[in-house]
Symmetry: C2
Subunit: 211 residues, 2 copies
């Protein structure tokens, strides 16, 4: 943890926005942008200048009058405050179409998330896979996670086995779970859980646009 701020007291919404800001800063840094204002950042992440300034100041980071925030400086600060600098090991359970797409999602690597293992219950499917990441039969889940100190589990199995997989991941010791199965998983309070439900997303869009 970085000095000063106790991140656990900060709201989920603020943390999510800071994560988006971090992503925008990475992109800007690549493009060679040096300074960015709260207004511009707000545009990038779909928020307001007020909220962006509040969020950043909650973390105790400051910018420059008349110039805004220094892109790479702010990025470094956020990285430090959010503990994103350390490389994090993750695994993917379920190597169907979505799981294999995630296996090779380059963006994860760029961002310090290293996929160090994939698991599937089907030996046939595992043998047919063409990837540079090591893949295992799911019975090796617990051992592999513990041997390799994997901290994050990504679930890409069908809905009906998602809870079981989550239980195994937690028993093996992961700290966070990203769930792509279209079902809500129950986890103990100390496990950080996030769901990516594609169908729900489409429902939201449909409802809002009154299709």
């Amino acid at each position: 943890m970085c000095h000063g701020v106790y991140i656990m007291d900060i709201s989920d919404n603020t943390i999510k926005r800071i994560c988006s800001i971090f992503g925008s800063l990475s992109a800007m840094e690549k493009r060679g942008v040096e300074f960015v204002s709260s207004k511009e950042l707000a545009g990038y992440i779909g928020s307001t200048e007020y909220t962006v300034r509040k969020d950043i100041s909650i973390l105790g980071v400051t910018g420059y009058t008349r110039r805004g925030y220094e892109v790479s400086g702010l990025k470094k600060e956020l990285e430090c405050k959010l503990n994103l600098s350390k490389k994090k090991k993750a695994c993917i359970v379920g190597l169907g179409r979505l799981g294999t797409a995630l296996l090779d999602y380059e963006k994860f690597q760029e961002d310090g998330f290293e996929i160090v293992a994939g698991f599937d219950c089907s030996i046939n499917r595992i043998e047919r896979l063409n990837t540079h990441i090591e893949v295992f039969q799911i019975s090796y889940l617990k051992d592999t996670i513990q041997q390799r100190s994997i901290e994050l589990g990504i679930i890409a199995v069908p809905a009906k086995s998602a809870q079981e997989v989550a239980d195994d991941l937690i028993e093996a010791g992961v700290k966070g779970i990203l769930n792509f199965a279209p079902v809500k998983i129950g986890v103990p309070k100390h496990i950080i859980y996030l769901e990516m439900d594609f169908t729900n997303a489409l429902r939201f869009i449909a409802a809002r646009s009154s299709l």
Copy 2:
């Protein structure tokens, strides 16, 4: 639009929760569950009984004292209020690993979202694809969307071409966009836009669990 409620006045958060509730109800209906309480629903979607009751009552739907809500009845009501009953046509742009995974994501079909076209810029890639959904070279995007009255666009291209694809989709007339590219896209106010940024999700989990 259903009678009574003006859905545009309802907050995004409420709509998102209602969408989750809808998903949970679908699952329960399949399992043959007849009634469900606000407390149980809250458990499923990760909320509280108070909020669930408020959300449902905002839509003007009522339950039964001592029994809760009738599962299939509530589902029908929500379907009607959220305009989810009509089949909605969608297309996917970008047929890399993620795009092709989405092409055959059965859950979409089950939920009334019909993927009626896929697009990619590479003819080679299109020819190699093995799917029962019609795929086109991206130059046919506008014509196909208009001919088939496609209302939803799903973007699964690399970050650098995402904005351009979005502009084309909007010009062609889609009403909503679901963006899987890890970049924020600018859209006019009347377009409903939602982003699924996997890396951001992992960042959030990492920050919250202080990996």
